[in-house]
Amino acid sequence: MDLSSYLPILLLITMAVVFAVANISLTLALGPSRQGPVKGTTYESGMDPFGTARKRFNVRFYLIAMVFLVFDIEIIFLYPWAVAFPNLQAGTTESWVWLGRILFFLLTTVVAYVYGYRKGVFRFD
């Protein structure tokens, strides 16, 4: 497998990382630094912060992540199909079979969607 066409992307990533790291280092070196007990607190609209921010959060965000996985993996599987499908012979049995297969594949996602909808995953009130 020839991956040499990806080398410029490696160069690009290196440049982006160097830019970011250099800027952060420069501002660390150039900027002043004064610590203080009040200055060290987080800004929460002027109230004295209590506790930690890393507490339990709403389970809804977890559900979103789960449903996203279902849909995103489905979309990844659709990409090769979408590239090959328009290049098939029109009106042949083969193209009907390809269309039917992908409709069935989408149907499985629709089942997941309907299940999630009935469970109230997509309600945000």
Binding site: I24, A65, F85, L106, F122
Partner: protein, 446 residues
């Protein structure tokens, strides 16, 4: 030393394109911030930044303000000289990693944008080493990779990490909430983005941006034949960039600054740069996918088959112009529309845009199978789907979470036979605030 095998004309041109483009985008981002401040100023009937020129307070320099164009430069220097502060309780490693993790995906996304089409490169002679790199047709793009748009989707998904890390590491409740909101919003809108990309792939049958542009040159721009997919893609671009009306990640009135509340100095600037770099990359992709890339109708020099140097320069100029126009449009949207509430954003994603884009995909699959992909049939199908959606939307049960509760005795629901006055009626009060052009007693308009 002989020529390494990976050094081809394509590699040289790609490296050159990357070095030029990354600098152009970083400087461009600084001036996009200036542009946004100017646009917001004119929308709000202000003048905006117009003081800082290029003299920087030094003596013997021309005191001309250059319409405030020095502002971006001064801001950059200011960011470097400010204190880089980390609150107590923050995770030092993740706190530093977050700005890098958000800027790098934003900056590497443009690699597949075909800036100037194909150029016939002459043989390149490297002076000292004595190499002769054989020329040939090369893509004026950051990287001519054969996965094309999949690269764009992969890079866009990585950008979420920076947001989540920034919110988590800050140990600030507002930051954490902003990060949760931003990540769930970006995840949700990635799905319709992928689905509307699939519609483009069904039309063109290729993942390569150059092939997509060639298809649009031959069959007309896809924004004309696939308006619904274009609208969905643009919505998703706004949501992915956390731009208004989808800027729930950093809604100032609720969450101070969202996931970058605790950031200062250059780290904050990196978050800011990343947002604008995201806008540049995504506008470039929108221009390539739906606006014909570097193509303009009726101009022969801009066809993909022109491979001269002049054609390449003209194509780069046209694509840059389209990107700037798209970004200006996004800025106009930001300063015109109010921000959506978080539950509205998520519900419109999961109950609106995602089902719609799936129906759109199935419709286009059937049309492609029937080879009914001429412009009129696609337009009719799109219009029919839009009409169907509008019709069904009327029939669906409406959620009652925002219904108006009658509060007897309030200004909006006064008791029966009671007149509610919302303007002063006392003669003295009217005299205090006389209205121009009318006498105070003649029912002044307030």
């Amino acid at each position: 030393m002989s020529l390494p095998s990976f050094v081809t004309a394509q590699f040289v041109i790609s490296a050159l394109t990357i070095v030029v483009a990354i600098h152009a985008i970083l400087i461009g981002c600084a001036y996009l911030i200036y542009l946004e401040r100017k646009i917001s100023a004119y929308i709000q009937d202000r003048i905006g930044p117009n003081r800082v020129g290029f003299d920087f307070g030094l003596p013997f320099m021309p005191k001309f303000h250059f319409w405030g164009l020095g502002q971006s430069l001064a801001d950059g220097v200011k960011f470097l000289l400010k204190e880089d502060y980390m609150p107590k309780g923050a995770d030092p490693f993740l706190f530093t990693l977050a700005p890098v993790a958000i800027l790098v995906p934003a900056l590497i996304g443009f690699a597949i944008v075909p800036w100037g089409g194909i150029w016939i490169c002459p043989d390149i002679t490297v002076p000292i080493l004595g190499w002769v790199i054989p020329g040939g047709p090369v893509h004026i793009a950051g990287a001519a990779v054969n996965i094309g748009l999949v690269y764009l989707l992969a890079v866009a998904a990585v950008g979420i990490y920076g947001v989540v890390l920034g919110g988590w590491a800050s140990n600030n409740k507002y930051s954490f909430l902003g990060a949760l909101r931003a990540s769930s919003q970006m995840l949700s809108y990635e799905i319709p983005m992928g689905l509307s990309l699939l519609v483009v792939l069904l039309m063109t049958g290729s993942l390569l941006p150059m092939k997509i542009i060639e298809h649009q040159v031959a069959h007309g721009w896809l924004i004309v034949s696939q308006p619904l997919a274009a609208i969905i893609f643009f919505l998703c671009v706004l949501a992915e960039c956390n731009r208004a009306p989808f800027d729930n990640a950093e809604c100032e009135q609720e969450l101070v600054g969202g996931y970058h509340t605790e950031y200062s100095s250059m780290r904050f600037a990196l978050f800011f740069l990343a947002e604008y770099a995201h806008m540049v990359t995504n506008s470039a992709m929108f221009a390539v996918l739906f606006l014909g890339g570097f193509h303009l109708p009726f101009i022969g020099a801009l066809s993909p088959h022109e491979t001269g140097l002049f054609a390449v320069v003209a194509k780069i100029a046209v694509l840059t112009l389209k990107i700037i126009l798209l970004i200006s449009f996004m800025m106009l949207i930001r300063w015109s529309l109010p921000r959506l509430r978080f539950d509205q954003v998520m519900q419109s994603a999961w109950q609106g845009v995602i089902p719609l884009s799936m129906i759109l995909l199935v419709m286009n699959a059937v049309l492609v199978q029937q080879r009914a992909t001429s412009l009129p049939s696609l337009l009719v199908a799109n219009l029919a789907l839009a009409a169907l959606v509008l019709l069904i939307q009327r029939l669906l049960p409406r959620p009652d979470m925002n219904r108006k509760v009658r509060l007897p005795g309030s200004r909006f629901h006064p008791p029966l036979h009671e007149d509610v006055r919302t303007r002063p009626t006392l003669a003295l009060a009217l005299e205090d605030r006389p209205v121009e052009g009318s006498s105070p007693m003649a029912g002044a308009r307030f």
